[in-house]
Amino acid sequence: MIALAFQNLTLGYDRHPAVHHLDARIEEGSLTAIVGPNGAGKSTLLKGVTGALSPLEGRVRWGSVAREDVAYLPQQSDIDRSFPISVKELVAMGLWQEVGAFGWLKRAQRARLDAAIAAVGLTGYEGRPIGALSGGQMQRALFARLLLQDAKLVLLDEPFAAIDARTMADLIEVIRNWHRQGRTVIAVLHDHETVVTHFPETMLLARELVDHGPTPRVMTPENHAQARVLSEASQLAPEICARDAA
């Protein structure tokens, strides 16, 4: 089963493509790392999936996953850290799709809320205001919120940037659990060791798709060299792309 597919997908800003004519399929239940140099279009691709960015060309075709079944952790959340809500309230936002704007939290949902907070190791911090959390604790809280969203497809944009080893190990365990439960996970990552150790599938992007498949096959020096060449080959005065819509 295919979770979602990119068909000739071109995404960009101000007519400049950041992802260029991408064709790829994401299998249901796969655990995929997206790697590539800065400016390779990794975050842009995730924004295209969430719908925050409309394609310049092509499309995202939804397979076994519906667009509503997506949980997304942005690279830079625009959470207002000074806003007076507690860790528990932040995490409880993950229940929005079940509870909506007006519902109560039922007993079972409260139990799941506590379980999610425990799963990321934040038990005891429930009542703290989010402004008092460290960067790592904040990331833990956001993972707990993702847990509660119970989504079939989880998109993570550089979830381990500026996170210490201990926190990272805990959060990778959360990701591996999602994988075991048959959820589809796509994560933008920079650290190659993490990718090779924990992610069976890899998509190497450099605006164009360099390679996509089993991690050992994709993560080769040749592929990375090609990615570097592709990402450096940006034109100063670009012409209109003549590649036809496949």
């Binding site: 942005p74 207002d80 932040l90 007006f102 989010i130």
Partner: protein, 289 residues
């Protein structure tokens, strides 16, 4: 003594009781909106919207004189137009909300001043700018109370999406379509309360009763619920004290009320236990890890 100073003016004079009721209605209706304005860092948005309302009220005044209904409807229309136009521009283009709002409110204000200056006399301008809390009639009182009720009920309904929209708008947009709706309902509440406020306090002072109590409350409590209650209390206290000051010393009532709110704000900055200056100078012993 206390009777003469505090109770008697309200017992003896109907206009003082009406003024008090009007101000309390505004305190209950407008300050919760002000708390959210402050939390969203939109405190100055309230000020901008207040200016945007002016041409609507002026057109209403031109059409049917000092008519409450016409000025209210005019103000509502002008405020909503500016709110929707700036909201649309910021959501559809790259211009941020503050810049687009500034653009539209300045246009609106220019139109308003031109209308007022070509047709109205200075006395009328003073009425629009400074309000007439001591001359509220039954219709005006009913309007103030109605708007306060609608405002509080609406805020209760949109409370959760509004909190999310403030704390993590990106997340709300990813799980729900309510983001834009919530934003516009909230802006509508701002406009409604400013229109209510300008009848009593004037367009310039109406923002004061929204923002000053909210800013003062921030120094006394941390939770949202606490902020809402504390701000409403500050507003009510300012109303009573301001009206009494205005009565005993023949001061203009709107500015007197806002000035009391300002004094409470100033005291809060120094004495408030949550991040006040005094609390920072006298640190308490920290906890164990």
């Amino acid at each position: 003594m206390i009777w003469d100073a505090i109770i008697a003016p309200f017992v003896e004079f109907g206009f003082m009781r009406r003024a008090l009721l009007g101000c309390l209605a505004i305190a209950v209706g407008a300050t919760p909106v002000g708390v959210f304005l402050m939390l969203r860092r939109m405190s100055l948005t309230g000020d901008a919207m207040a200016h945007a309302i002016l041409p609507g009220a002026a057109v209403g005044f031109l059409v049917s004189g000092l008519s409450l209904g016409a000025m209210t409807i005019g103000g509502l229309i002008a405020g909503m137009l500016v709110a929707v136009a700036s909201g649309l521009v910021s959501r559809l283009t790259t211009l941020k909300e503050d810049a687009s709002l500034a653009a539209f409110y300045l246009i609106s204000l220019a139109v308003g001043v031109i209308i007022v200056s070509t047709r109205g006399s200075n006395v009328d301008l003073m009425h629009v700018l400074f309000g007439t809390v001591l001359a509220l009639d039954n219709v005006a009182l009913t309007l103030l109370c109605t708007i306060a009720s609608i405002s509080v009920l609406t805020l209760a309904v949109i409370f959760r999406p509004l909190v999310l929209e403030c704390a993590d708008p990106q997340f709300l947009r990813s799980v729900s379509r309510l983001s834009a709706v919530t934003h516009f309902i909230f802006l509508a509440l701002v406009v409604m309360n400013l229109v209510a406020g300008f009848h009593a306090l004037g367009t310039l002072m109406a923002v004061g009763i929204m923002i000053l109590p909210a800013a003062a409350a921030r120094f006394w409590t941390t939770g949202i619920g606490g902020l809402l209650v504390a701000a409403a209390c500050v507003a009510a206290l300012s109303s009573v004290a301001g009206l009494l000051l205005s009565y005993h010393y023949s001061l203009p009532s709107g500015p007197a009320i806002i000035l009391v709110a300002g004094i409470i704000y100033g005291l809060s900055v120094f004495l408030g236990p949550v991040g006040g200056i005094l609390a920072q100078l006298v640190p308490r012993r920290h906890f164990e890890t």
